[in-house]
């Protein structure tokens, strides 16, 4: 084929093709790196929360009188909530799941104060708490109702009181007991000088949102039996599928006035809490995705525009070629190959650019390095995009009649 002629023709009017090649290089670098960044985000925020997210809602009750009887109030509230038709289980906790309220503390596998410690989130609830969240045990059992105890003076005192048994997440179990035998072992909490037996393991429980300063605690959780000391009490209510709004409506009508001396600060479905916590991440993914799509569109427009221009200015030459015997597909092939050469030039530069950008991004954001198959996929996509954008102008060129050559002379 006439690649040599083609190259020399390209070289004679090089500005346009060079611009296109640079655009393609940048497009490839953007496409590959941003797709990877988005994939990382989507991967993070679509991780399961470990809870029955669509069927749980929570009620934030805040007491404000000095004679408020926390113990009886919680007992009576829970009895009422558990008796409502449509409710699977209800429990009281010190903070809502998927929120930043609460405690992170260091735990270790040994009473030795110098033993390695692992920070974990404490998620404290009354009996049936795991049920109320829909968290699934992978080993062992839930903590017993007896381990819950009675309300302490404040949250600090409640943590200091510490229960004799706890349930922990798989992720924490693996870090503290790398040999994988956490069940039945003792968990030490140096700060309050207490220990507890690990009676159960749950797969995952995102007590903290997966995004933000405490993201790493989202899967390192100690579920501790605890009676919330007040003034803040969070009631977790899990309903049968499809009955949440009905139960919430009833709660909103009747719950506040059941016990005097407190107010209901908020009643919210867990799905909303969790979605709010992911908003920033989702918005950022959408912005990045939208801009990348625009980059692709604009590049395609550029390739197409240049091809249209080339076809218009070369109409006479094309006519001449057709007149001296070139077939339609020769013309088509000429434009496709020309475009492919330009695209490939851009792709080569783009690969270098993409890898450099990848290194810089992973260095500054501490994200894992760009996997090479993203680059391979990007190259294939850019090639396809290039061919598709030139196809319409090239076919128009092929339609040019040989007579054109004679007409304008």
């Amino acid at each position: 084929m006439e690649v040599r002629h083609l190259l020399s023709a390209l070289w004679r009017s090089r500005t346009g093709p060079c611009l296109i090649a640079v655009q393609i290089a940048i497009t490839l670098a953007v496409l590959v790196n941003v797709t990877y960044l988005i994939a990382l985000r989507v991967d993070t925020y679509s991780q399961p929360t470990g809870m029955d997210i669509d069927n749980v809602f929570w009620i934030h009750s805040q007491s404000f009188t000095s004679d408020y009887d926390q113990k009886n109030a919680v007992a009576s509230d829970l009895q009422w909530l558990n008796s409502l038709p449509g409710v699977t289980a209800a429990a009281a906790a010190t903070s809502p799941p998927q929120s930043h309220w609460g405690f992170n503390m260091p735990f270790s596998a040994s009473p030795d104060p110098n033993a390695p410690k692992e920070n974990a989130r404490i998620f404290a609830m009354t009996a049936r708490g795991l049920d109320a969240l829909g968290a699934k045990l992978t080993a062992g059992r839930a903590y017993s109702a007896e381990s819950v105890g009675s309300p302490a003076a404040d949250i600090g005192a409640a943590v200091a009181q510490w229960a004799p048994e706890v349930v922990i997440t798989q992720a924490l179990a693996e870090r503290l007991f790398p040999k994988g035998n956490a069940l039945g072992k003792t968990l030490y909490m140096g700060l309050v000088n207490k220990s507890a037996k690990i009676v159960g393991i749950i797969g995952t429980l995102q007590a903290v949102p997966i995004y933000g300063p405490f993201a790493r605690f989202s899967n390192q959780v100690v579920v501790a039996p605890m009676m919330p000391p007040g003034p803040t009490t969070i009631y977790l209510v899990r309903t049968k599928p499809g009955r949440q709004s009905e139960v919430m409506a009833r709660v909103e009508q009747e719950f506040a006035d059941r016990v005097p001396g407190r107010y209901i600060a908020r009643t919210e479905p867990l799905a909303r809490t969790s979605s709010d916590a992911r908003n920033g991440m989702r918005a950022s993914s959408i912005i990045l995705g939208a801009v990348t799509l625009l980059v692709l569109c604009v590049s395609a427009i550029g390739i197409c525009g240049l091809a249209v221009f080339n076809v218009t200015t070369r109409t006479r030459q094309i006519g001449t070629r057709r007149a001296i015997g070139a077939q339609r597909w020769h013309i088509l092939r000429y434009f496709l190959v020309e475009n492919w050469l330009v695209t490939t030039g851009g792709v080569v530069v783009g690969c270098i650019l993409a890898l450099t950008a990848g290194v810089i991004i992973s260095h500054t954001t501490q994200a894992p390095r760009l996997p090479l198959y993203y680059l391979v996929g990007g190259v294939l996509l850019v090639w396809t995009l290039g061919l598709l954008s030139v196809l319409v102008p090239a076919r128009r060129a092929a339609e040019i009649s040989p007579a054109v050559a004679t007409r304008t002379v």
Binding site: L191, Y263, S284, I301, F309, Q366
Partner: protein
């Protein structure tokens, strides 16, 4: 006169290639639109909330962590000391008279009982703070004033309330002298803060993140211990001998929960103060505290915001991406423009032959590009406005009893102010010049004969 002629020629040229022109305008609009969206978001996060005195205000951080380095490898900056102080360190530093003003504070909460029909009791965020808070941070007061230092130590039952709470409780009237019932105790209003929501909320980045609404109530610091007010922010117990327990345990051991700020007017006094802080921690070492090498920070507002990476990677990546995209759009327009000019070269050749100078040709083409650039810029501004609106809808879903401040905050974080609009016009001019100068020069340079020959 010439300009009018050039504009007319530009319009004629657009009419000749309407598709190409629309393509160029939309490329520039998309580029400028996305750049404006991301730069607006970045600009809102990179604010200087107290620019007029940001180099006089200093946050104080002491490294009171124990020797255990567990989990520090996961922190982005393990070398930074914790960003809050313990109660006792804050109270010790507060006694120094080197700074002009000192403030110690944290976020807590109370229940407001309006005590009249219609309004149920509701929760309010409380900033427990010291007297200097108001003069030091230039808090704008609608009515009344803050309190004096003596009111902190043996706490007086006085509060300063926010505008929103004043609207809710007193219908916006001057409420100085009226009382508010907080958890069953009466507090007298002595001041009302006007709209005040520094972004970022530089003076407390820990309680609700860097962008959060201001508290509803400000209360003398002495009430913290008198009423055992629990922290609604973060408590970080940093040594193995910290004792978690009742309120007294937390405030008497190495649990960091108090934000500490000072105002120091001169470099000499700043040096003196830094020395004082280091001496204090060295002194404490005799009591078995501050086991790590001295690592205290007394840093101004910009440094503090940078240490906490208030802007964040997301914003930065978005801006870089949008600028790269804008570059692609410029290249694209450059290519299309070149194609268009060369396509119309016979006409240009004719004009040259009829006596138009090279300068006139270049100018005429540049003006044509500028018109494309400005039109793209205007469309881009409209696109940016829609994009920001979409982002606001995506990131802020109003809850049933959200404070109006929350909406205001969401709006402020995606608001395109007049400066940004001027900036957008600037970018579109630069875009036009960048995309047009080479094609215009190229077409102006060409010898007229070459194009005329082809006719």
């Amino acid at each position: 006169m010439m300009l009018k002629h050039d504009l007319l020629l530009a319009l004629l040229s657009f009419k000749r290639n309407p598709v190409l022109t629309v393509l160029m305008v939309s490329a520039i609009a998309a580029g400028i639109g996305s750049a404006m969206v991301t730069i607006t978001l970045y600009h809102a996060r990179a604010g200087h909330p107290i620019w007029w005195k940001e180099d006089r205000l200093f946050a104080v951080a002491l490294d009171n962590r124990g020797s255990d380095h567990t989990n520090e490898n996961l922190m982005r900056h393990p070398e930074y000391p914790p960003d809050q102080l313990t109660f006792r360190d804050a109270e010790a530093l507060y006694r120094s008279d080197i700074p002009e003003h000192s403030v110690m504070m944290y976020r807590s909460g109370r229940v407001v009982d309006p005590g009249r029909g219609g309004l149920r009791p509701f929760g309010a965020l409380v900033r427990v703070t010291t007297a200097d808070f108001f003069p030091m941070f230039d808090v704008p007061l609608l009515y009344g004033a803050g309190w004096d230092r003596p009111a902190d130590t043996s706490p007086e039952p006085v509060i300063v309330i926010g505008k929103h709470l004043n609207d809710k409780l007193f219908n916006g009237a001057n409420s100085v002298g009226r009382t508010v019932n907080l958890n069953g105790r009466e507090f007298r209003v002595i001041g009302v803060v006007n709209d005040w929501m520094p972004r970022p909320k530089f003076y407390d980045l820990t309680s609700g993140g860097a962008f959060d609404i201001s508290e509803d109530i400000y209360m003398p610091f002495g009430w913290a211990t008198a009423l055992k007010m629990e922290s609604y922010g973060s408590i970080n117990c940093v040594t193995p001998n910290a004792k978690i327990g009742a309120f007294e345990d937390i405030i008497n051991t190495d649990c960091d929960m108090v934000q500490f700020w000072v105002e120091i007017p001169s470099a000499a006094r700043l040096r003196q103060y830094r020395q004082f802080v280091d001496n204090y921690t060295t002194d404490q070492r005799q009591h078995g505290r501050f086991v790590r090498p001295t690592n205290n920070r007394v840093v101004d507002v910009p440094t503090w915001l940078e240490m906490h990476d208030v802007i964040g990677d997301d914003s930065r990546i978005e801006v870089v991406l949008a600028l790269v995209f804008l570059a692609v759009c410029i290249l694209n327009t450059l290519g299309l423009m070149l194609a268009k000019f060369l396509g119309a070269a016979p006409i240009t050749g004719l004009r040259r032959a009829l006596g138009a100078s090279r300068k006139q040709i270049i100018r005429q083409h540049l003006i044509e590009v500028m018109v494309v650039g400005m039109t793209g810029g205007l469309v881009g501004l409209a696109l940016a406005w829609m994009g920001l609106w979409a982002i606001r809808v995506m990131t802020y879903i109003p809850g049933p009893d959200d404070s109006p401040d929350k909406r205001a905050l969401a709006e402020a974080l995606s608001h395109m102010d007049h400066r940004m609009i001027v900036f957008a016009v600037g970018i579109s001019l630069v875009t036009g010049v960048l995309a047009g100068i080479y094609p215009a020069w190229r077409i102006g340079k060409a010898a007229p004969a070459r194009f005329l020959k082809a006719q």
